[in-house]
Each structure stands twice: as C-alpha cells, then as structure tokens.
C-alpha cells in the first residue's frame, strides 16, 4: 500500500479529482496549504506600499492506494495538474505500513 501526496495549483483540484476517479480511486483527502518552490513569491500593493508574499496558496491531496494502482494514479494526477508552467507542484509516494477501515475493522489492502 502506498500514500500518494500531491501539491497542486488550487484551480486544478477538480480536474485531478475527476482524473483519479476514472482510474478507480474511491477517496481522497484535501487541504489548503501554502508554500514556496522555484516560482518565488508575489507582490501586493496596499496604500502605496509593496508587500512581498513568499508563500503561495496550494492544494495538498492525499490518496491511499494499493501497489497496483500507483502508476495509473500518478499518471492521472500529472496529466490533470500540468499547465507546463513553473509552480505546477509535486507528487510523491510513500510506503504505508497498515490501513484500517474504522467501520468494519478491515485491515490491509481491502481497507484502502
């Protein structure tokens, strides 16, 4: 079992959701996060004064998958989230030791 974590541009969330559903993903957890990467920050002007904002709004998506699903889900996320510009985000995969479905107490891949 693996945990796929993706940090993407906020307006790409809906496309990512549709794409991963198509490859059989049944659930995801999302959160609003802020961060910086190679894009750098941006400038805002209030009352003539410039403020530099280093952190940019992003959406972090977490999807637990079985080992067989990993490549298909990665492709789906990358294809959906890509705009070919700096700041499209990152996806990474980590090992998941155990998963439990709380309602049924199922363990392992069945619980994913």
């Amino acid at each position: 079992m693996k945990l796929i974590t993706a940090v993407v541009k906020p307006f790409k969330l809906d496309e990512v959701k549709v794409a991963v559903r198509e490859v059989g993903v049944t659930g995801m957890t999302v959160g609003q996060v802020r961060g910086f990467g190679r894009t750098g920050g941006h400038i805002e002007i209030y009352r003539g004064k410039e403020y530099e904002f280093d952190f940019i709004d992003k959406i972090q998506i977490e999807i637990a998958v079985t080992d067989e699903q990993v490549e298909a889900v990665l492709d789906a996320i990358v294809n959906a989230a890509r705009t070919d510009t700096v700041g499209d985000g990152k996806v990474w995969v980590t090992d998941v030791e155990r998963v439990v479905r709380i309602r049924t107490n199922e363990r392992g891949p069945e619980a994913v």
């Binding site: 805002e44 002007i45 209030y46 009352r47 003539g48 004064k49 410039e50 403020y51």
Partner: protein
Amino acid sequence: MLFAVTNIPYPSWLNPADNTWQLVAATLVGLMSLPGLAVLYGGLVRKKWIVNTMLMVFAGFSITLVVWMLWGYNMAFGPISHFGATGSFWSGFVGHFTPLATASSEQGQAVSGANSLIPFHFPTATLAYFQFVFAAITPLLFLGGLVGRLKFKAWLLIVPLWVTLIYCVNACLLWGGGFFAQKGAVDYSGGYVIHLSAGVAAFTGAAILGPRRWQDRENAFPSNLMMVAVGAGILWLGWNGFNGGDPFYAGADAASAVLNTNVATAVGVLTWLLMDMFFSKQKKPTFLGAINGMLCGLVAITPSAGWVNGTGAIFVGLIAASIVWVAWNYLSRIRPFSKVDDALGVVYTHGIAGLVGGLLVGILADPKMTEYGVAGAHFKGAGGFSVAGWFYGHSFHQLWEQFLAALWIIGYTAVGTAAIFYLVKFILGGLRESDETLAIGDLAIHEEEAFPEPTFGEPVLSPSHSHSDNV
C-alpha cells in the same frame, strides 16, 4: 383645514422641515462613525487588531456623548465665558463648563454663537446632537494614527480630555462665535476644527506614543478590502449630512453643499486613481488609492462646501487630491514624517487635505453662493451671508484670515495633544500595551477576535459550562 394652527404640537419658531433635515443630517454623520469608521479602520488594520480598533471607535463615540451632555456642548456652543476684555482673544475663547440636562435646555429654541444671523428653527436638542456627532468623529479620526499599540485604558482617558480641552476650544473659536469667528475666518463644516485638528493630533500622538512593532509595520496589509468599501461608502454618503447639515436650514445652500461635496469627492477619487496609474512606481490603479482620493475630496470640500460654486468644487477635489498624493508618496519619506508612525496616514488625508481645503476657501469662495439669503423684520441680523475668496473678491483678506486660523489650529492642537498624551502617560505609567500583548493583539487585550473559529468539531467546554449553576 383639519387642524387649526393652534393645534400644531410644537412652538411657532419650530420649522418641521428644518428640524427633520437637521436630525437626518446628524444621523448620517453619526453613521460615518458607527459603523463607518469602525469598519473602515477595522478593514485597514491587520486581522489581529480589528476588535481593538472597532471597540475604540464605539467607546470613543460613547464617551464623547457623555462629555457633550455634561459640559462639552455648552463649552463649544453655549454662551461664551468672557475671560478678557470684549473683542480680545480671551473674551472669545470658550463657553461655560455646564451640563445640558434640563427640560428647557433640550426643548427650548436653539441659540448659539455658531449662527448669529438668523434664528434656528429647531430645539437645542437637535443642535446639540448635530454638533455632538461632529465632536465624536474627531477623536475617532485621529485614532487612525494610533491603532496597533495604544493602551485601551489610555484611549478612555484621551478622548474626554481631548474633546474638552482641544475640540471644544477650537469649535468655540471658529464656530461658537469665538475669536476667529469674529475676525472673519470661516470653516463651513470642519475642515479645520475637525480634519486639520485630527491630522495634527494623530501625528503628535503617534510621535509621543512611538511606532507599532516593526512586524506590524512591515506586515501592515489590510484585513478586509470589502469592509473598507462599506466604511468608505458610508463616509462619502454620510458626508451629505456633514456638509448638507451645516447651513442649519433645509434650503438652497444645503442642496448646493451636498452637490459640491459629491463632485469634489468624485474628482478626488479620479485624481488619485489617475496619478496612481501614471505617476506611481507600480503604475497600477488601486482601490485603496481611490479611497484616499475620496477622503481628500471629502475633507477638502468640507471648509467650503456651500461657499464655492460647482467649478470651485471641482478645483478643490483636484488640488487637494494632487497635493495629498504627492505628500503621501514623497513627503512621507522626509523627516519628521518618515520618523512618525501615523498608522493609517491621518495627517495626510485629513491634516493636509483639511489645511488645503481651508486655505482654498480664501481663494475660491464665490460671494454669489449665498448661505443665508433672507433679510427682514423677523430675522436678527442683516440676513445675507456669503464668503468672497481672492478669485472673486480680488482681495487676500479672507485667505489671510484662513491662514491665521490654520496656524492656531495646528499650534494649539499640537501643544494641547502633547500635554494630554504626557498627562495620560504619567497617570497610567505608559501609553502602550506591553510587547507580549502587542505580539498577540485582540485576543490578549479583549479575549475576542474578529473571526472566531472553533476550527474542528464542537467548541471545547468553557469554564462557565462546568460551573455548578449551569449544569
């Protein structure tokens, strides 16, 4: 006729139209403070300072009304105490320290040195409330220079002292029939008494109080631009009462004051907007810039609203917004302006705009703009009243009187505000909240925040829940 004249339930000197307009105008001006300034300032400060700022606005408004009833109104607009020989400065300095508390003092016909030309057609309660909302907004304006570090207790002492010792004196001198009024200086609705004075007080107070934490200055981005829009809109339209109420009659001059106020303001907005687009470093039209331009127009037309014609009003908006734009962007880099943390820039949009507007009366006032146009047996004075600026009267007399009054307002407000701030500092052992408190803001001072968020699940059990009476 269903009703005989004798059945009208108010005295013959009372004119219901004048009384209605005066009460409506006063309410419009009151709305400029609550919620106008509360949400405008709340929107301009950092999120962590919203509650503190709004509470200071509501508390200041309340304190001023109590002061006004107990002694303020009579000091500013009651019969003048003649401390010196007739015609001397001290014979026209301030009124009596007496309350406005009896039935007759509320319901009797308004009488005031503010208008010795023709009698008021409404009771003293109307005039007192109308004048109160002006007195109340003045400390709330200079609050803009002090937000983000002023101790709450200090504010509760500064407001009554400042209204009593600074506002009432300046109001009496220029409006209450005092020295400068007798000399011929004019201030239609408070370009000097309110805005120039508030700008000077903000600057002086901020200098004594010291700057905000550097973190708060560096990250001074506003909390909510939509709230700024709400507050600014209420200010603009509320100004119809501010300037439209100051002839004290629902007549032609009230109408022209309203129209002139709006056109000067519109020109102020556009002037700042265009200067931002073509002369600013970023070359961007900004909403908060436009709001600054709006304030410049509103403030600068205030001393002349019913005494300039439409062309004059356009020039007032243009000149004031241009000068304040340059001051905002360049003068602010020069000492002492660069050294004083006037948090919301009150010294520019109120101080400098008020000064420019007050001097422009001496240049642009059109003698054909008649404030009081009826003469006759029923009226106390000669009747007609208008003001002639240099442009129409070909004399610098009015400009000179305006200049002298401005010098007084700047000097007296600066010295008096400094004295009050040092006194309050001495009484409380300091004017600032502690550094630990300043780092947190609203929650540390009030145990409240502007956007309370019990983030996950149910709120935790509060201490009052576990109290035996509540179980």
